[in-house]
């Protein structure tokens, strides 16, 4: 299947600072694609480039298999960085401008305003809106014309917990309708709960990308102890399904591949004549995994 968006070797510098180093990935159709990374990792720069407000130093990107970029943007609902609206116009009048530029035939402003809970305030000027309401209007603008693809940069910025939950539900609903959603976030929780695919950026480098369960596979760690720690380590190093071993504070830590758990480890040790004095399965959280990926 043709990817919705294909990014090839995109680079970008701000003076001496390398914001993106040859990043390439594809966004498959109907995915919820999370671009994940700590602050300053290049997420917004990436989105700015594929929306043509920033100029890449190198590399190319293509939407929908390579249609003209401006035409592609009219078919995409986007929210980049901050809500950008004319302060002196009402939310309703602002959306008219978005819809006109997108060349939408039907006026569905009331529908999207209802969807983001701003219908009652639609005739108030944008400058009178609270931070959360501005964010809601920006999400509403992205939903105009029911686009098949959404690009959302930190969509829950400025929203209260109820608002965050609403947006999460909205994303799930849209995903069920087959809409492709590209979402940039530094909030892991957000990504873990809604994304099907992920790309992790760190200081401009793409660390991993792919389906969430592959890219962020939760490797389990098993802690074991025995009287003779040295013999224990030697024996377990030979065991199939153990990807690495490490002794830490008198405990042997085992990184296991899928299908290898405490039962297999215990059986293996007994078969080697070793009796374990300690056996503990530790599930590694996504957060730990993310820290590992981005911190070193």
């Amino acid at each position: 299947m043709q990817p919705i968006l294909s990014i090839q070797n995109i680079s970008k510098s701000y003076g001496p600072v390398r914001a993106l180093n040859g990043v390439s990935f594809d966004v498959p159709e109907s995915s919820v694609f999370g671009i994940l990374g700590p602050n300053g990792s290049g997420k917004t720069t990436m989105l700015g480039i594929i929306l043509d407000v920033l100029v890449a130093a190198g590399g190319t990107y293509s939407w929908f298999g390579g249609i003209p970029h401006a035409e592609a943007r009219r078919r995409i609902g986007s929210l980049l960085e901050t809500p950008n609206f004319y302060h002196y116009l009402s939310g309703y009048d602002n959306l008219k401008i978005n819809a006109t530029i997108r060349q939408l035939k039907e006026d569905d402003r009331d529908r999207v305003l209802k969807q983001v809970g701003l219908l009652e305030r639609k005739h108030s000027k944008f400058q009178t809106y609270s931070l959360g309401m501005k964010q809601r209007l920006a999400i509403g603008a992205a939903l105009l014309g029911q686009p098949k693809v959404l690009v959302l940069d930190e969509p829950t910025n400025g929203l209260d917990p109820a608002g965050i939950a609403e947006i999460r539900d909205l994303i799930r609903t849209l995903h069920r309708q087959g809409i492709t959603i590209i979402i940039a976030s530094h909030l892991l929780d957000e990504v873990e709960k809604v994304c099907t695919h992920v790309a992790i950026l760190k200081r401009g480098d793409l660390l991993v990308h792919g389906p969430v369960n592959e890219a962020l596979r939760n490797e389990d760690v098993i802690e074991v102890r025995a009287t003779d720690m040295h013999a224990l380590e030697e024996a377990l190093k030979q065991m199939a399904g153990i990807s690495s071993t490490k002794i830490s504070e008198g405990t042997l830590l085992l990184a296991c591949e899928q299908g290898t758990g405490p039962v297999q480890v215990n059986e293996y040790c007994i078969s080697k004549g070793i009796v374990l004095s300690h056996l503990l399965l530790k599930k590694k959280s996504l957060e730990t995994k993310f820290m590992e990926l981005t911190n070193n």
Binding site: D52, A70, L80, Y88, L89, D93, I101, Q103
Partner: protein, 266 residues
């Protein structure tokens, strides 16, 4: 083209600053000229003591040159309006949003260029209307009304020159306060200093060919023309040259603005 202008219209139709500045321009330009024509504003004194040198200058065809000269001062304020409208896009970051929603960068650029051309056309039409009203009022007939219509065209070119420079400054500087400050400093002080320096060293007044001065030369101060006519002094630089240079500057604004918007991050 109309699609781009209609987007611009959606942005402006409920913008109070736009209507207030435009309204003040529409009101004050005829009022100012009326006061001069009827002798309320006098040179060299006030009340009955002053000499009203200008009150005969509102009949056809002199009315065009006179209105044009005073109009050139009022155009400064509309140029500031152009700066406000354009830098607003940067402070609201709606320039980004327009592109994100599907304009190309060049379409965004041309929207603003079209705005300047449209403003210039509307102001020139208004100028034409005022000219007809004043001319008819002070000469009683339409005789000679159309013998100096090229001044109307000069006025249009001058609008393009002033507002074109204002637009380029807005794209280059992006911040309204700084852009307005520099525009006023340049038009009122810097250009005059530069013009003075150049003219005192060159064997012809080449300083008059500077960005805004060259279109000012198309519509000079009426008394200056009278004086020159009396002492039969011939200008070293012809009107045609001023016109060509002014149009040249407009082309410079256009291509420089294009280059800025095409290459930079938004």
């Amino acid at each position: 083209m109309l699609a781009l202008l209609s987007i611009e219209w959606l942005k402006l139709r409920k913008y109070r600053t736009f209507w207030v500045l435009l309204g003040l321009f529409a009101l004050l330009l005829p009022l100012w000229n009326y006061e001069i024509a009827s002798g309320v504003l006098k040179l060299g004194g006030s009340g009955k003591d002053g000499i009203n040198l200008l009150n005969t200058a509102y009949s056809f065809p002199e009315v065009w040159a006179n209105l044009g000269f005073w109009g050139s001062i009022f155009i400064l304020f509309l140029s500031i309006l152009v700066i406000i409208i354009t830098t607003n896009e940067y402070s609201f970051r709606t320039n980004r949003q327009n592109v994100i929603d599907g304009l190309t960068r060049m379409q965004f650029f041309h929207t603003k260029v079209l705005l300047v051309v449209t403003f210039s056309l509307i102001i020139t039409l208004y100028f034409l209307l005022l000219g007809v009203l004043f001319g008819k009022g002070y000469s009683g007939s339409f005789s000679g009304a159309f013998s100096d219509l090229k001044s109307v065209f000069y006025f249009f070119v001058m609008c393009l020159d002033y507002m074109g420079l204002a637009l380029l400054l807005s794209f280059a500087i992006k911040r309204s306060g700084l852009a307005i400050g520099l525009f006023l400093l340049y038009s009122m002080i810097i250009e005059n200093i530069a013009k003075g320096i150049i003219n005192s060293y060159a064997d012809a007044p080449y300083g008059n060919l500077l960005m805004l001065q060259c279109s000012d030369e198309l519509l000079p101060f009426p008394l200056m023309m009278m004086t020159k006519a009396i002492i039969s002094q011939v200008d070293k630089i012809s009107k045609e040259t001023y016109l060509a240079v002014t149009l040249g500057w407009c082309a410079v604004y256009y291509f420089a603005g294009r280059a800025i918007l095409r290459r930079n991050d938004w």
